[in-house]
């Protein structure tokens, strides 16, 4: 039996995120976007309230939430600022490989001290020569005794300049393709690890993104996650878990765009009446509302599917792909509703378009999502 009502617990978690988003994030969103600025004080507060390591079990110092609850929180945060949300939830992505592939000893050793204090972690998969084609990555890990030596470069790494821990995917032998990919946990203090300059981005400017270089970085075998060659599946299973919250993030941006557009349409006058009374605007708002609603329901459904223990690859790909496309479309229409004002940086909607764009690209470009959707779909007909 389908039930779309939230439990009292879920409502109170959503209320917490909404309050934090409205009071702590929203007032600084425009400034952090314009400057741009990485508002570490806000991320610290997010950590203090338990909004950061959502997927880490309570035993290891996290919040121990399911994907559904995480999605409720992420949507609320993203309503205030997509970029800040990306930075707040980056730990979920970076720590998921440890949760999936770490031994109990590794989880104890890595997660407990990490989660006990404000710390950021970065998920290092994408490389300059390719992101979507994760099987052909070039960062090498060579075994030397009880250590591996890592060499290579990762790019577009969220929070990298501020992180204290990196989960890194490298190949022990490029010829092995996906079967050579292996995951490691590398601390910031590792000799030979360096981060590049903060990238100047179109959107998500409150977040920080840079390259991470590995030059002869020595990693103990004890810090390898899973077996050699287990990394590719670990990365894919990680993305299966975190893709859905990106749908929620996109939904939050879309909802913000709709809220701005609807409120503006009621007060902006043209031809002697509020533009909300013009059918052209009403149709726009109605279409935007449909997109937002569908994006949320697809996200909820994918989250529900995963929380029931299913892999949810198809559902999460549909949710992420649809919601991010919806976010772009709704933000675009919000700008159109605002007219010339929408194009001005003084008004909040152009930022939403720039922030929405990234959701179509990161954590699996929508082209890849569609490939996955088609593959899963055709399997049912074969």
């Amino acid at each position: 039996m389908a039930d779309f009502s939230l439990s009292a617990e879920q409502e109170s978690l959503r209320d917490l995120a909404r309050k934090f988003a409205r009071t702590e994030m929203a007032p600084h969103a425009a400034e952090c976007d314009r400057t741009p600025r990485f508002p570490e004080e806000i991320y610290r507060k997010a950590f203090d309230l338990g909004l950061m390591n959502l997927n880490v079990p309570v035993d290891y110092g996290g919040s121990g939430l399911g994907v559904f609850e995480a999605c409720l929180i992420v949507e609320e945060l993203a309503h205030a600022c997509g970029g800040m949300t990306t930075s707040v939830i980056a730990n979920c992505l970076a720590l998921e490989p440890i949760l999936l592939g770490g031994t109990p000893e590794q989880k104890d050793r890595f997660l407990k001290p990490f989660c006990a204090e404000y710390n950021l972690a970065s998920f290092c998969l994408t490389e300059p020569s390719g992101g979507s084609d994760a099987g052909s990555l070039k960062t090498r890990a060579r075994r030397e005794g009880d250590h591996y030596i890592l060499d290579g470069e990762k790019c577009f790494i969220t929070n990298a300049p501020h992180a204290s821990l990196y989960t890194v995917f490298a190949t022990i032998d490029p010829a092995l393709k996906t079967k050579g990919i292996t995951a490691f946990v590398v601390p910031r203090s590792a000799v030979g690890l360096s981060t590049g300059k903060d990238e100047e981005k179109m959107g998500h400017r409150a977040s920080s993104t840079s390259t991470v270089r590995f030059e002869g970085v020595s990693v103990p075998v004890a810090d390898r996650l899973g077996e050699e060659g287990a990394g590719f599946s670990m990365a894919m299973r990680t993305l299966d878990q975190t893709r859905t919250p990106i749908g929620a993030l996109a939904t939050g941006i879309a909802q913000a765009a709709l809220d701005h557009a609807a409120a503006y349409s009621l007060k902006r006058q043209s031809f002697g009446k509020p533009i909300s009374e013009h059918q052209a605007i009403q149709i726009k708002l109605a279409n935007m509302a449909q997109s937002v609603h569908a994006a949320r329901l697809l996200t909820w459904h994918a989250a529900w599917t995963i929380d029931r223990g299913a892999k949810g690859t198809l559902e999460s790909s549909i949710a992420k792909c649809f919601a991010s496309d919806a976010a772009l479309h709704v933000a675009d229409e919000a700008i159109q509703t605002f007219g010339g004002y929408g194009y001005m940086k003084e008004y909040p909607v152009e930022k939403l378009l720039r922030d929405a764009k990234l959701t179509q690209i990161y954590e699996g470009a929508n082209e890849i999502q569609r490939t996955v959707i088609a593959r899963e779909l055709l399997r049912q007909y074969a």
Partner: protein
């Protein structure tokens, strides 16, 4: 110190008010209820006192119907209240604030209370009757509109400022007493996520409200919303001086509010 904090669920500030069928009360259908603003300050004040005085306990108590009353009590637990008591509203009928005070007093009398803290009034009915009625019912002195409440461990007394129309009065009072807080000069904390999850499992004690006593009472008969505001009449001007002159003229001659 045993601190009892009376809290009330009220519609959140952004609620679009609607009149209930029958026309006498707010239509609560679909309304989101939250901890009343002054009560939130009172709870924060209680938690600050508890943190300052080792061995103290904060006991949140609330009167009202399910589920909103239980929810604000859980919110109080998530914020740091040690105990929670729900005084069950006997029926869904609209109640007189004095009846609420009687119900609360019955429950408070049964638990230890060195300090009974309330918000000075709730943002919905704005009656502000509960603190002084509790004082009378519990035979304790009460102080309304209190700001800046502190505990002086040397004299074992509370020191506080009671805000009055003319300014303020400085007071010192020993326990037990009732305080209606106008504004804790504090920034109420936000409950942390793990504490919210824990609060879901907290035990909420239930206390029967007791019979509705006959006698003097007030009963709501009408709930009206003002006609929608048409928006400000904007003053047109070419210079700031002209704007000022026009406004002053309007305030004197049309609005007649200029002294």
């Amino acid at each position: 110190m045993e601190i009892v904090v009376c809290i009330k669920p009220v519609p959140e500030a952004e609620t679009r008010l609607r009149v209930a069928p029958g026309g006498a009360t707010l239509d609560a259908e679909g309304v989101k209820f939250v901890l009343a603003g002054y009560d939130e300050s009172a709870l924060e004040q209680a938690l600050l006192l508890k943190e300052a005085l080792a061995g103290s306990k904060v006991h949140a108590i609330s009167f009202g119907p399910a589920p909103r009353t239980e929810e604000v009590l859980r919110a109080a637990v998530a914020l740091g209240a040690d105990l929670a008591t729900w005084v069950e509203s006997p029926s869904g009928s609209a109640v007189d604030p004095i009846q609420v005070a009687r119900a609360l007093a019955g429950a408070i009398a049964a638990i230890p209370h060195d300090l009974v803290l309330c918000g000075k009034q709730a943002g919905d009915d704005e009656a502000g009757l509960v603190p002084s009625a509790l004082g009378e019912l519990l035979a304790l002195p009460d102080f309304g509109s209190v700001v800046d409440l502190r505990w002086d461990p040397v004299t074992a007394r509370f020191k506080f400022l009671r805000s009055t129309d003319a300014g303020g009065e400085r007071w010192e009072a020993a326990t037990p007493c009732v305080i209606g807080l106008q504004q804790a000069w504090n920034d109420p904390r936000t409950a942390k996520l793990p504490n919210i999850l824990k609060s879901r499992k907290a035990a909420i004690a239930k206390h029967p409200a007791g019979p509705d006593l006959p006698g003097a009472r007030s009963e709501p008969q009408g709930f009206e919303l003002p006609a929608p505001r048409t928006g400000a009449r904007l003053i047109e001007y070419k210079s700031p001086q002209e704007a000022a002159q026009t406004l002053v003229r309007i305030l004197r001659e049309e609005a007649k509010v200029f002294p």
